[in-house]
Symmetry: C2
Subunit: 194 residues, 2 copies
DNA sequence: TGACGGCACGAACGGTCGTACTATTATCAG
DNA sequence: CTGATAATAGTACGACCGTTCGTGCCGTCA
């Protein structure tokens, strides 16, 4: 790995931390230069536009999510165990990895009315994730762990709602029991699917 | 109502539309001056800082929410009917009133790691709303419509999760069935509380 | 040793941001 | 109708934005 690639990754690391708290728009070249100790122009040269920087930040976040959440789950047994693994890893990652919590949640509201490549990439990522969840639930049905009449899309919707609420109540409103509530809700959703 | 107050309200109207789509930070004095046909300085004089403008926007949104969602529900019979009224009105308002959907949802992720008066006001508003929902559910228990062992805080958490997911799947991912899914989830939550 | 390519730098550009002052115009009570 | 006052416009400011450009450092290899 050349020197350039090395610093580029270091920049993206910092950028992820910053973006998870302040969002993609306020992820500023100048601020990023400050935290990395580089000059604005030196940093900018690694990405040739701010849009590229944003896209690479999202790509890195996606890759980390796959590595830390999806990949371990795929090693688990098919079906419910895999779903539980995804849920647990996701909750853990959002708490520990980034200071501002799940970056996808942080930028979702920011990009939902802002057309462009960043939004497109985010939507693709989220659709991809939804498909993964759907497939995992489908397997649980095939394995006989879930009832045959489980509405898979509805299941994904409700599963997604848990994490959204976890962020809203935990991060914004500061409810210390949000994690416990999310877990309880998850157990309820699984129980209803049996 | 003097002329000043009249234009101030007109400005806030425009500001709400703008903020619901682009957020509170990108709700810019210059852009707002453009859409209202005023000069930057003339508009700025009505609020003496951007922070004041943001707070007044949030206050107006809160008042509208109370008028269009909470107040009508309070005319309804106590208990489940009131909860249904709140849910239905909330879904309707977010669809129709503002182009960017529920402004509270739009700014929640933006402010959740950004201390200041705007965040404080938003948190207060959301806590207030959560209390209202909790109280309505409590009444449903007292009236015998809900089981006595319903966990009220958990109920509020799950109710909140529905609207959060509605925005995520409907607005960001563009799922046309998001509204129907939210309704189905709501019915499920009520049924489990009976 | 000397040329070269990859990296990072400082300076500067045009623009937009929020905000402060001053001047001008519109409103409204006496 | 008039004069006080409120409302708006004009202009300027310093800060920061993304971006461009020219320059120099430094390791690699001929």
């Amino acid at each position: 790995m050349g020197k350039g690639e090395e610093t580029r990754r270091a920049i993206i690391d910092q950028a992820l931390e910053l973006a998870s708290t302040v969002g993609l728009e306020k992820l500023t070249i100048g601020a990023l230069a400050g935290t990395t100790g580089m000059s604005k122009s030196g940093l900018f040269a690694h990405f040739r536009s701010k849009e590229q920087l944003q896209l690479q930040v999202l790509a890195e976040a996606r890759q980390r999510f796959i590595e830390m959440v999806i990949a371990p789950a795929m090693q688990k047994p098919r079906g419910e165990a895999r779903l539980r693994s995804i849920f647990e890893s996701a909750m853990k990652q959002w708490e520990e990895d980034l200071p501002g919590g799940c970056i996808f949640h942080a930028v979702s509201a920011e990009l939902d009315d802002q057309p462009g490549p960043a939004r497109d990439y985010l939507v693709e990522t989220q659709r991809d994730y939804a498909d993964t969840l759907r497939r995992a639930a489908e397997i649980a049905v095939e394995e006989g762990e879930f009832r045959k009449d489980v509405d898979l899309d509805q299941f994904v919707f409700e599963l997604g709602s848990i994490t959204a609420a976890y962020h809203h109540f935990g991060r914004l409103l500061g409810d210390p029991e949000a994690e416990q509530r999310a877990r309880k809700m998850f157990e309820g959703l699984l129980a209803r699917s049996h």
